[in-house]
Each structure stands twice: as structure tokens, then as C-alpha cells.
């Protein structure tokens, strides 16, 4: 888990995403306990209220749940929930920004598709040109 203190994104949201990443990667498995908010706040030197806020975002979304007196657990089906949520925002977060950056560099949509299909699309083009 990495938190970037210079990022525009509030720390609690970064923390929530970092926990989600760990669930997706299988580091935190479903129906198992995750590290406590105290451990998180100590490790990253963040106020426990901030850490709690990040964890609560995931509790509200049903990704984590509290077991009284024991701690935080990953819900059954959490991975699927995260996948669905991330797939829904994939176009906006990745595709749109990819297209914007490409437009700045005058890379065409065709070139992008070539890159996706066969590695570095631009180099391929220049190779063809020199032949």
C-alpha cells in the first residue's frame, strides 16, 4: 500500500483504494481480517480518524465489515464488487484521459489501436516509412 501525500486525492480515499487494490491482488482475501486502523495510522503516520474514514468508505460500500471486538474483515463477494465498480469507471478514468493525452501528442485513434494490438504502434509506423 502506498499513500502519496502530495496527491490531490484526499488521504482517506487513497487509503480506501489501496485496500481495494490489495483485495483485487488477493493480498487481503475474502472473509479474512485486514490490518487494523491503528496499524494503518501508525505505519503511515496519519490521524486515526482519517484512517477510520477511509475504512468506513469501504464498510458503507459493503466491501468490508466490522466484527465486534475483532476488527475489520473483507466481505464475501468484495472482489466482484470492486471489479464492477472499477469497470464502470474504467472508461472515464483511463480511456478518456488516454484519448486526451493522445490528442495532445497528435497520435491518432488508429495508432492507439495498433499500439494496443501489437506493442509500440508509432515505431512500427516509422519502420514502414524508412523501408
Amino acid at each position: 500500500m502506498l499513500i502519496d501525500f502530495n496527491s490531490e486525492k484526499p488521504i482517506y480515499l487513497q487509503l480506501a483504494e489501496a485496500i481495494e487494490d490489495n483485495i483485487l491482488k488477493g493480498i487481503f482475501e475474502e472473509e479474512t481480517q485486514i490490518v487494523s486502523t491503528t496499524e494503518i495510522s501508525v505505519k503511515y503516520k496519519i490521524n486515526p480518524a482519517t484512517a477510520g474514514k477511509g475504512v468506513n468508505v469501504l464498510v458503507d460500500e459493503g466491501i468490508l465489515y466490522k466484527k465486534r471486538g475483532l476488527g475489520m474483515f473483507v466481505s464475501a463477494g468484495a472482489k466482484e464488487k470492486i471489479l464492477e465498480k472499477r469497470r464502470n469507471s474504467f472508461y472515464k478514468e483511463y480511456v478518456q484521459s488516454l484519448l486526451e493525452e493522445a490528442a495532445k501528442l497528435s497520435i491518432s485513434k488508429e495508432d492507439i489501436i495498433k499500439m494496443i494490438v501489437g506493442g509500440n504502434g508509432i515505431e512500427d509506423n516509422s519502420d514502414k516509412g524508412s523501408k
Binding site: 490531490e8 484526499p10 495510522s41 503516520k45 482519517t50
Partner: protein, 286 residues
């Protein structure tokens, strides 16, 4: 006993007004940062809260009771001062025992354990400690005091990066285990920015603001890029901390983060970033 109310407090020394009608309510079990430039009145405020000096006007209440000559209330506040007030010729381990006389819930074992972790030799006499170890010794005493309220005046003075890291982590873990009201007065603003929940900023004896750090930071953002384009973007906007290196410029815009003009920034090829607490602090106190 953890809530502190500072009501209309002023402190006058001769012709200087060190504090001028300050009203602050410190809520229970939160970590506050008391920030201000040199001579702003931070230490005066802490001294008043612990009845070391008396207000010229106004009063300070802890859970509704005055701190004025109130030993029961004062016994629940541990004040880590910037100056060393412990007997110079005494050994550290003896001072731990001595503190226990005044703070019955002082945890001697925890103090010894912390000293060991920080590499503080408790057989040493206070006067033979370096600046860094004097701070460590005082910080250990504060952490082990088990008081409901901790007032920490420049707690990391002279500490190396590793010891500062250890101190902040121990402070958070101590606070998580037994919540208490903590006020940290420091000049190292960025270091405590993520640790404190609220910032109290004072300037020339007056309260400038008391606000949650998250709120404070979400009321501003940074914008950077080519100088003339940044100038174009910030025209007509309230800005602080304008910095330039060559033809690169950055500025902190004092507007809510959701007010930023993404379309214009896109057109001008500018980048957005997070506002720094330190920059906001500088603009608020100069």
C-alpha cells in the same frame, strides 16, 4: 477531563499584548496542531492552560472547571515544555520515579521500554543529554504520563529523521490505544499535517483560524505550468504562494477544489496539485 475552553483570554506583559481576547474550544480526544510564527503567542497560551502564568483577562476551563490553582484539574494535564524544567543533576531513571509522585498514573515500565527503544540511557544525568536526547527524554515522560491532556511544545526539537519518525508513530499508537486530547505546537508543519485533525493558527496574539486540516486543504489547490499561462489562469482569482523557476510557475489558488476550471487548465496545459498546509500557513500569518 479533556475539553478545554479558552474564553476571552488576554495576556499583557508591560506594553506588549502577548494574547488578545482569544476564544478557542478544544474538543476531547482529538489531536490539534497549534501553529504560529515565532512570538505569535503559542507558548504563552500553553503556559496559561497549565496555570504557570495567569491571564490578564478571561478564563480557561477544563471540562467546565477553572485551571486557576486547581490541582485536581492540572494533575490531568502533562505539559512537555520547550525549556528543560527537570533537575539537571538528577539521573533520568530517578526523574521517572519522581514524575510518578506527581502523576500517579505515570507508567514507569513503559517509560523505560520507550527509552530503550530510543536508545536513551536512563542512567545518564539530565545535564549530560544532547539536545536531541533531552527532547526524547521529555517526550517519553509525556507519552508515559497517561494524562488526559498532553501539551507538546516543539516535541521533536533536535531529533534526527529516524527518531522523529519513531516519535510520531509512537504518538499515534499511544493515542489510538488510549485516546486523549493532544496539542502539538510546532514549526514543522508538513510533518504533522497528516497527524493533526485540526489546525489552530495564531498570529500576533490573535486567533486566525481553527479548522480541520482536511477542510482547510479542500479550500485550495495548486496550479502549475508555463509562467504566462499560469498568470492567465490565476487572473482574477485569489492566489497565494506564487513561485517561479525560470519560465515555470506555480501558485496556490484559494478556491474550493471543485471550483477549479479544468477546461481552461486543459487549454493552457496546466497541471493541478494539492495545496500544502505550510503554504496556507505562511499566507495566513504574514
Amino acid at each position: 477531563m479533556k475539553t478545554i475552553q479558552i474564553k476571552g483570554v488576554s495576556k499583557v506583559y508591560g506594553y506588549t499584548k502577548a494574547l488578545d481576547k482569544v476564544d478557542i474550544t478544544i474538543e476531547s480526544d482529538r489531536i490539534y496542531g497549534l501553529l504560529g510564527r515565532n512570538g505569535a503567542g503559542k507558548t504563552t497560551l500553553l503556559n496559561l492552560m497549565t496555570n504557570r502564568i495567569f491571564p490578564t483577562e478571561g478564563e480557561i476551563l477544563i471540562d467546565g472547571e477553572t485551571v486557576f490553582e486547581n490541582d485536581r484539574v492540572l494533575g490531568n494535564i502533562f505539559y512537555m515544555t520547550e525549556k528543560n524544567l527537570y533537575p539537571e543533576d538528577e539521573r533520568v531513571r530517578n526523574i521517572y520515579k519522581w514524575i510518578k509522585e506527581f502523576y500517579p498514573s505515570f507508567d514507569v515500565e513503559y517509560a523505560k521500554d520507550l527509552s530503550e527503544r530510543f536508545g536513551l540511557d536512563t542512567k545518564k544525568r539530565v545535564k549530560s543529554l544532547s539536545t536531541g536526547y533531552t527532547s526524547i527524554f521529555k517526550a517519553v515522560a509525556a507519552l508515559a504520563s497517561n494524562a488526559d491532556i498532553l501539551l507538546l511544545d516543539e516535541p521533536v526539537l533536535g531529533l534526527d529523521a529516524n527518531h522523529r519518525d519513531m516519535f510520531y508513530k509512537e504518538l499515534i499508537s499511544n493515542y489510538s490505544e488510549s485516546p486523549k486530547t493532544i496539542i502539538i505546537s510546532t514549526h514543522l508543519i508538513e510533518e504533522v499535517a497528516s497527524i493533526i485533525e485540526e489546525a489552530i493558527i495564531i498570529k500576533e496574539g490573535k486567533l486566525v483560524l481553527k479548522q480541520s486540516v482536511e477542510e482547510l486543504l479542500s479550500g485550495a489547490y495548486m496550479v502549475s505550468g508555463e509562467a504566462s499561462k499560469v498568470d492567465k489562469y490565476i487572473q482574477g482569482r485569489k492566489c497565494i504562494g506564487i513561485d517561479s523557476i525560470g519560465s515555470f510557475k506555480s501558485a496556490t489558488v484559494l478556491e474550493a477544489v471543485n471550483n477549479k476550471d479544468e477546461a481552461l487548465a486543459e487549454e493552457l496545459e496546466l497541471e493541478f496539485g494539492k495545496a500544502e498546509l505550510q503554504k496556507l500557513f505562511i499566507s495566513l500569518t504574514t
